[in-house]
């Protein structure tokens, strides 16, 4: 009996603010795998123009849901064009199989929930002949409101390339696109766990745990080496350095922003220094009291 997926949580809105181009040069990064999957679809000219569109911030919105991408990209004349891309999803049977494989190791989900898409997952799925990445051009159906003679236009290219760049940050984009979003997958996995045969549930099984922590049991109470960490609490060499580096904001209308902020920055520095080193007379007593008490407790 193929399981019924729980309802979709809704389209996933991609965060395009951190899009830098092309970020992931690493050969086996997910973005480069994605680029390989879509490589044959577009002409080189379309791809070059697509990067330009991404770079200049003309890719406005991308929403991803199961098997479907909706997007808005401005063309070179800054007219907004609408794109729709259909992507083949994995079948319910394939997902069921994938869920079984993923449930086998808690590590997989732990990593996914921490937004890592480890190579092992792909290898595990590979064995079942399931491919997370679309296998061919035929897996994509492209639409765009621009009047290009062909559908493999630069706008669609920009959408798909931008998605690729986001993959490294959030693997659920790919999983959503291929048929299961985060909620669905979590639900399916917990169904599977609870429905598993009794012998798999160890006696006195603990509550589901924060897996990522469990992985670090060895260093649970340990801090990384901070011996090189120098803290120097002092007023800056140049007042309002960070702010001055930006120059006066044009939108502020007048140039008085710096002047207006100067006393604010001074007061903050003053308070920070007082807190760090103490300056009032009472701190003398407190200091002595502290010595007494701390040594008294040891």
């Amino acid at each position: 009996m193929p399981e019924r997926p729980t309802p979709h949580a809704g389209p996933l809105l991609l965060d395009l603010s951190k899009l830098t181009v092309p970020a992931s040069a690493a050969q086996d990064s997910w973005s480069s795998r994605w680029r390989a999957a879509i490589a044959g679809i577009f002409s080189q000219i379309a791809i070059d123009r697509a990067w330009e569109a991404i770079q200049t911030g003309r890719v406005l919105t991308i929403e991803v849901q199961d098997g479907y991408i909706a997007a808005q990209v401005q063309d070179v004349r800054l007219q907004t064009q609408q794109q729709r891309i259909e992507v083949a999803t994995l079948s319910d049977q394939e997902w069921e199989l994938a869920t079984v494989l993923l449930a086998e190791r808690a590590l997989f989900m732990a990593q996914l929930l921490n937004l890592h898409l480890p190579k092992d997952i792909e290898e595990a799925l590979d064995e079942a002949d399931i491919s997370l990445f679309p296998r061919s051009q035929a897996d994509f159906q492209l639409y765009c409101t621009c009047n290009a003679s062909e559908r493999a236009c630069e706008h669609n290219a920009a959408v798909l390339l931008a998605i690729g760049e986001c993959l490294d940050q959030d693997p659920f984009i790919l999983l959503t696109l291929r048929g299961r979003d985060r909620e669905q997958l979590t639900a399916a996995l917990s169904d599977r766990r609870s429905g598993a045969p009794a012998h798999e549930r160890a006696a006195g099984e603990q509550l589901p745990t924060l897996s990522a922590i469990e992985l670090q049991a060895q260093r649970f109470w340990k801090m990384g080496d901070m011996s090189a960490m120098q803290i120097r609490i002092a007023a800056p060499e140049v007042e309002m350095e960070s702010l001055k580096m930006l120059g006066a904001p044009e939108f502020a209308g007048d140039v008085s922003l710096l002047e207006r902020l100067a006393p604010v920055y001074q007061r903050v520095t003053q308070r920070a220094l007082e807190l760090a080193y103490g300056n009032d007379e009472t701190s003398a007593e407190n200091g002595a009291v502290l010595i007494d008490q701390v040594e008294g407790t040891s």
Binding site: Q206, M223, G224, E241, F251, V264, A276, E295
Partner: protein
């Protein structure tokens, strides 16, 4: 209450800035064990919120912690069957169950929710963590957040934050954001994210979140810092007082400004204008983003400021300052291509020597564009078509040097300024010269309080300036002025300081040698707001200065002729140093490693001084009670001619008698406890030397004991300590203020100037300044010192004489009486075998009493301060642990081993290993492995001698303590040598503890005097003792007079008083 404070940052939604700091605590003892079947059981060791409030008020007393918000959370912790796993620092010997790998389980915690700014006060007050001195009162989670909070505080003080605008739920919000503009800050933040202990992200709400992923360390950290910056700036920067009260602000900027202060951070602007504002804002912020293309290319932009040639002045007017533009090769920064050449290039690539620079014009323009936003002069220059320089007025040049250059470098543009700018003497400073008073030159001697003549003057550049000259320059009211042909800086605030300086300060006067040395060692960086430049010393002071700073060696002294024995070369150097310091009236701290012979160096000093200065009054030596016997023995051995008085015990002399005894004696030995109790007897006496041994006894400067010690009158002061005091600041102050009163200033001044920056922030600069100040007064040699190690035997043994306590004396005498009566009565009738049995039983009982009354009584009573040996062992282990070395402690009695282990764990709050005959093979291997391999291996390993055997390899230890003796040197050595293989490269010290005046002492002497005989005759074991005649036995076991004299109850409690 013994408890460990924990806490972490908890926030439900990372986009919000409304988190709370959750503080909880772990007690040493379990509080409750929940009997109900609940989803989340209560953490059995969790402290109550009342206890948590008490702990918090230790660190920040000013806040009403008891009325702060209570919270309940669940923590996912490594656990065993019925409780969270006991953390390593609390693990007791019985907790053997930790073999099983821990699983994770949720435990309910009650705690206090602390708002971030209040928590900042707590986190700032926590000491920084140094590796060697882990503070086990503070959990590692809290130590981590303390470091993060200090990082945040640094960003605030350093003004590294900007007003920001973020979109949140379809509205724009004004927030204060960390700018994290420099690579160094970003790297440190990444390092913090990387190093977060998992324990920090293990606390969640009791429902819902428990199945979710753990908070990502990076997000948790970022959220904490963002919240901290936003709230601190809002509250400290002026807060709601800055609100103008206008409901509908006139323009976008105004509504932004309002929202930066209003508790409701949302901007009150129509949604149509939001997008516009947000775009403006982003384009403003973008200026700071360093262009990755530029960073990656092979060249950058460089601006060079050139000063006008003052000889070219026309009509008294100088030509302007010029800022020239270049592109600069990254590979070879000396290669500068003038902008004019760049503009001439027609192609996309500029070839220059062997370099090709791509798109040079674009890059240059881009950088100049950024620079123009900061510098109006550059902006002006860009109005021309091919600008290659900007023209700056003197005023602008000053601003450029002070400020703009720094900002440009922050933007990735390199800047060259005239070389004098960075030289400190280009600024106004004070020059000091010091002269020893002339009448002292002949005597060649100064006291710490003798007065040194000073003389100070203002200097600008490398020349002194007169008052008139200064006034003429100041009248120009220009920050950059020329004086005698060179440019110097005359900042307005310095001009004011200089005027005040001239009004207030006497040009000449006298200073105590104390302050003069501190000046010469760089204690102060400025005086009346003016930098201190060179300090000039006259020849006599130079001489002294060079010797105490070690740049010129002190003339060595030979071993005094009446010293019985030979000083090793480094000990002769120590003696010479002590004598030199004394001659100048400077207090000296000899801090050699344990075992290097501080005691005999001090004894040699007494002999040396007695020969040189017979008129110097007698010496007072203060040591812990546990050491009185040892001192007496050592003086008798190395300086038998010295007349020693022990002022100790119930029958000690009263004030008058002591004064007369002291006038005849060379040395009076007393204790810290008595220095306090008998202060009225000790203080009226004017001592020649006062020597403190084990000076960590005055580590807390405000105790009565430490204050009493500081009130004693002595011409010369010496401190002996085996702990590295430089890192223990209150101890350092306490010792230095005994040695050289006033040198480090008042305790409070010292705390502010040194202790706080070092303890809280590990401030390297301050540490270095302090080291420079105190180093001349401390001589510390470690065993591995190349100049010391060549003088040392590869392995050396020494005997540690310990007093008995009164309880031990009583028990000991009772056992001797009973046993001897039995022996005498049965002398004629009992068979030899029975007699032997009786003798051996008596010997065992006596040895047990020497070890510890609790061992003999076997009544499970507390160990406390009832054994002189144990007291001494604790003191010595304390020193060894402080230097980060490891020790083996051997005892013949498995029972003693167990008592020791428990006591040491409680005392030092550290893990202590214990191996005995009954230890299972796997446990034994695990222990040895851990001691030898683990990074955090315990510093103390207790072994019962019988547990030795082949295959024990414990080379990491370099101190071996024999808590009791195996009365056969061959067997003893064999046992220990088999038990550990001594590392070839490391030295091992063997400390043999001996109870003064007991059979241990007697047998030791016997063996020493007949070593050869002993080794052949005594055979194996202790049987030979059993064959002694009853009279000989009686002589052997009877307690000697000195044991009675030294016995005391006052032992340990006085150290802690």
């Amino acid at each position: 209450m013994e408890a460990i404070l924990h806490g972490t940052w908890i926030v439900d939604d990372y986009r919000q800035l409304d988190g709370m700091f959750f503080v909880w605590a772990e007690r040493k003892a379990a509080l409750t064990q929940s009997r109900y079947q609940v989803r989340v059981r209560r953490h059995p060791y969790a402290a109550t919120t009342i206890e948590i409030a008490q702990l918090l008020s230790l660190y920040v007393p000013g806040i009403a912690w008891s009325s702060t918000e209570r919270m309940t959370r669940a923590a996912l912790l490594p656990s065993q069957a019925n409780s969270p796993q006991v953390p390593p620092w609390l693990r007791m010997p019985d907790d053997e169950a930790d073999d099983a790998a821990p699983h994770f389980a949720y435990w309910r915690l009650e705690g206090i929710g602390v708002p971030i700014l209040q928590m900042l006060e707590v986190l700032t007050a926590l000491p920084a963590i140094a590796k060697e001195q882990q503070d086990h009162h503070i959990g590692v989670d809290l130590q981590y957040w303390s470091l993060v909070a200090k990082f945040g505080l640094e960003q605030l003080a350093g003004q590294r934050y900007v007003p920001g605008l973020v979109s949140q739920d379809k509205a724009l919000e004004a927030v204060w954001l960390p700018s994290l503009g420099s690579d160094a800050d970003r790297e440190r933040l990444a390092q913090l994210a990387e190093g977060m202990p998992p324990a920090c992200s293990a606390v969640v709400r009791e429902s819902g979140e428990m199945e979710a992923a753990a908070p990502e360390p990076k997000l948790l950290l970022q959220n904490f810092i963002n919240t901290l910056i936003n709230q601190a700036v809002r509250e400290w920067g002026g807060g709601e007082a800055l609100l103008t009260g206008v409901r509908r602000p006139a323009n976008l900027t105004e509504s932004w400004w309002q929202a930066l202060w209003h508790p409701d951070r949302r901007l009150n602007v129509p949604s149509s204008e939001q997008r516009q504002l947000s775009n403006y804002y982003q384009s403003w912020q973008r200026w700071s983003l360093s262009n990755s293309d530029i960073a990656a290319s092979n060249f950058g932009v460089c601006l060079r400021l050139e000063q006008p040639d003052y000889t070219a002045a026309k009509n008294g007017e100088l030509p302007p300052w010029v800022l020239r533009y270049f592109i600069q090769s990254r590979e070879d920064p000396s290669l500068l291509v003038p902008a004019s050449d760049v503009w001439m290039e027609r192609g996309q690539v500029l070839s220059y020597l062997n370099y090709n620079f791509e798109h040079p014009q674009e890059r240059l323009l881009e950088s100049l564009g950024k620079a123009a936003r900061i510098s109006p002069a550059i902006q002006r220059s860009l109005l021309t078509s091919n600008p290659d320089h900007a023209v700056l007025s003197a005023e602008e040049a000053y601003t450029f040097l002070r400020e703009t250059a720094h900002l440009l470098e922050g933007l990735g543009i390199s800047v060259l300024v005239p070389p004098w700018w960075s030289q400190p003497d280009a600024r106004l400073h004070v020059r000091i010269s010091l002269h020893a008073p002339t009448d002292i030159h002949d005597a060649g001697m100064l006291g710490m309080n003798s007065l040194v003549q000073y003389d100070w003057q203002l200097a600008l550049g490398d020349e002194l300036i007169t008052h008139e000259e200064f006034e003429r320059l100041a009248a120009l009211k220009a920050p950059l002025v020329q004086m005698r042909g060179r440019w110097v800086l005359l900042q307005p605030d310095q001009v004011e300081a200089a005027i005040a300086f001239w009004e207030r300060q006497q040009k000449q006067g006298a200073l105590p040698l104390n302050d003069a040395l501190a000046l010469a060692l760089g204690a102060d960086e400025e005086i009346d707001g003016l930098e201190i430049g060179d300090v000039e010393l006259d020849p006599l002071l130079t001489d002294l200065f060079e010797r105490i700073t070690g740049s010129v060696p002190i003339e060595p002294l030979e071993t005094p002729p009446d010293f019985v024995g030979e000083l090793r070369p480094y000990q002769e150097r120590g003696l010479a140093w002590l004598a030199f310091m004394g001659k100048w009236g400077l207090g000296a701290c000899l801090a050699d490693d344990m075992g290097l012979g501080k005691t005999i160096q001090a004894i040699a000093l007494l002999l040396h001084v007695r020969a040189q200065l017979p008129e110097l009054p007698s010496t007072l030596l203060i040591c812990p009670t546990s050491l009185v016997g040892n001192w007496k023995r050592e003086v008798e051995r190395f300086a038998p001619h010295l007349n020693v008085v022990v002022h100790h015990g119930a029958k000690r002399a009263g004030a008058e008698e002591l004064a007369s005894l002291a006038s005849k004696a060379d040395l009076v030995i007393s204790t810290y406890g008595l220095a306090r109790r008998d202060l009225e007897s000790l203080r009226p006496i004017s001592w020649g030397h006062i020597i403190l041994d084990e000076a960590q006894n005055i580590k807390n400067p405000i105790t009565k004991q430490a204050r009493a010690i500081r009130r004693l009158q002595g011409q010369r002061r010496v401190v002996l300590t085996g702990t590295p005091i430089e890192n223990r600041l209150s101890e350092l102050w306490s010792i230095l203020s005994f040695l050289n009163p006033g040198y480090l200033g008042s305790l409070e001044a010292f705390r502010r100037a040194f202790a706080v920056p070092i303890e809280r922030f590990q401030d390297e600069e301050t540490s270095e300044r302090l080291r420079k100040l105190v180093r001349p007064f401390i001589l510390r040699r470690v065993k591995t010192d190349p100049t010391v190690i060549q003088d040392l035997p590869a392995k050396f043994e020494h005997k540690v004489y310990c007093n008995l306590t009164r309880e031990q004396v009583t028990l000991y005498e009772a056992v001797v009486q009973d046993a001897m009566r039995e022996l005498k009565e049965g002398e004629q009738r009992d068979p030899v075998l029975k007699r032997r049995g009786q003798v051996l039983a008596m010997l065992t009982r006596l040895k047990q009493i020497c070890d510890h009354p609790a061992l003999y009584l076997g009544d499970g009573s507390v160990l406390g301060a009832r054994s002189g040996k144990l007291n001494r062992l604790l003191e010595m282990l304390d020193e060894v642990l402080a230097t980060g070395e490891r020790s083996l402690v051997f005892t013949q009695y498995a029972q003693m081993g167990q008592l020791l282990q428990r006591h040491l764990v409680e005392y030092f709050r550290r893990e202590v290993l214990f191996l005995h005959g009954g230890t299972s093979q796997p446990a034994r291997e695990k222990m040895i492995m851990r001691f030898q391999e683990a990074d955090d291996a315990p510093g103390i390993f207790v072994l019962s001698l019988k547990a030795g055997g082949t295959g024990l390899n414990l080379m990491r230890a370099n101190h071996v303590f024999h808590f009791d003796r195996w009365w056969n040197p061959a067997v003893e050595n064999q046992a220990t040598d088999r038990a550990f293989r001594i590392g070839q490269s490391r030295d091992v010290q063997v400390h043999k503890l001996i109870a003064v005046g007991t059979l241990e002492d007697r047998i030791d002497m016997l063996i020493e005097s007949k070593r050869a005989l002993a080794e052949s005759v005594v055979g194996s074991g202790e049987d030979w003792l059993a064959d002694l005649s009853t009279d000989a036995l009686l002589d052997l076991v009877t307690l000697r007079a000195d044991a009675l004299e030294l016995a005391s109850d006052e032992d340990r409690e006085e150290h802690d008083a």
